[in-house]
Subunit: 289 residues, 2 copies
Amino acid sequence: VIRQLTIIGLGLIGGSLALALKRAGAVERVTACARRQETLDEALKLGVIDAGSTDLAEAVSGAEVVVVATPVGAMESIFRQLAPHLTADMLLTDVGSTKGSVVAAARQAFGELPTGFVPGHPIAGTEDSGVAAAVADLYQHRRIILTPLETSSHEAVARVRAMWEACGAEVIEMGVAHHDEVLAATSHLPHMLAYALVDTLARMGESEEIFEFAAGGFRDFTRIASSSPAMWHDICLANRGALLAVLRRFADDLAQLTQAIEQGDSDYLLQTFTRAKGARDRFAEKFED
Amino acid sequence: VIRQLTIIGLGLIGGSLALALKRAGAVERVTACARRQETLDEALKLGVIDAGSTDLAEAVSGAEVVVVATPVGAMESIFRQLAPHLTADMLLTDVGSTKGSVVAAARQAFGELPTGFVPGHPIAGTEDSGVAAAVADLYQHRRIILTPLETSSHEAVARVRAMWEACGAEVIEMGVAHHDEVLAATSHLPHMLAYALVDTLARMGESEEIFEFAAGGFRDFTRIASSSPAMWHDICLANRGALLAVLRRFADDLAQLTQAIEQGDSDYLLQTFTRAKGARDRFAEKFED
């Protein structure tokens, strides 16, 4: 049981972690730091946290586990504020969607990386955000990627793993660079495409009318374009290298598809669509979609 | 009440139309033509149709309304087979996702366009296909676009409209070219992006592993990549002009976004994501998504 969990940057992800651990009886006390007092008031009212402060030092005092759940662009600044308050036995993890940038930020802020620091990334969430959207079962049967560092102690890794497993999640370990490549492909690229598509349409003439005739496929396809612009701004820049690589690969593939349509290349079109459908159907079977 | 409705090319769309009209008491008898006898047997067993034949002439005999629901690439051939059996008071419509190509096919097959011919396109459907997936409420509160031609009689337009309204749908009329531009943007382009994305990922190394870490956003985003490759092959080529125009526009926008990421252009990223989120949120409000 964690005596005190402190969440820095309280929103959907951190709030859901608090609720899940409370439900599992895996935490005694939850504190949080947020920029706005209203967020803390709301979280207190909802029973997500037991105490909160807009002052990081106050929130983190007495923490056994500190979870940084701010947008990734803010992490270096948070780590710097955190540095003087970090004790040797404090566990530190984060929930950032990119890992290379978070590790770099930690290196900048801490100099030597703390042995209690284990970067993490829950593959969960919705296009909603904010602590009011937090739910105790957000991590149930979801995957959590941990990217332990050479500096991370075995004990720290085991304790962060146990925390997420208490939420009903499946914990997987992988390297930092590999995480960033995989996520660039499966999450960051699709978000860029959804944003770009909606924006392309919104800027076309008669865009209001255009959206009128969008059907279910469009709704599903563009749902992620309702995600937080500030968060995705940060992710784009934080995972720039891996994202640019898949963006270029995708642009090349799309250019080839465009050429095939132009040339009426039936074989290319049928092969591409069939291969994609096969991969999507196998994926759907696995995840019961 | 329609005395006899004949569906040529029995699948999800035609089957659901039959079920909806039957439930509304708006049709007395439904016949169908399909390529495979098994499809007709299944539809008979499911109560979707009252009689079926793999012979088009036999299926269409006695029809008051003929609905062509084959992939758009097959329509010219179907219209040619239909031509000798079309009577002056027979109503003819289709459910093709592209309208310019269907009108061109009709012109090729019939020479002079029949006054009873009113092209149509229901904005409904799922990534499932086949008559077994047919449901009576598929068109409830969905939009049906009709693109009446100069040759279409007012009576024919009114009757096709009434047929769809009996299924609970909202009928909208627009020009053929406008339909094709709107659908290229809201339906055909997203399908190309979903197919291209899944294919890009499937062709990356360790693609099986990549899909393991895909979350809900990816599931939603790529669901339409499970659609029928043959159908989408036809749509691509049938609406080639309008689709190429939006594909190029999108590719340009994506190249600009890519450049902004490369250059760390925060303003561009935030503005683009915010504008897209705004458009998507307005769309979601309207459609209660």
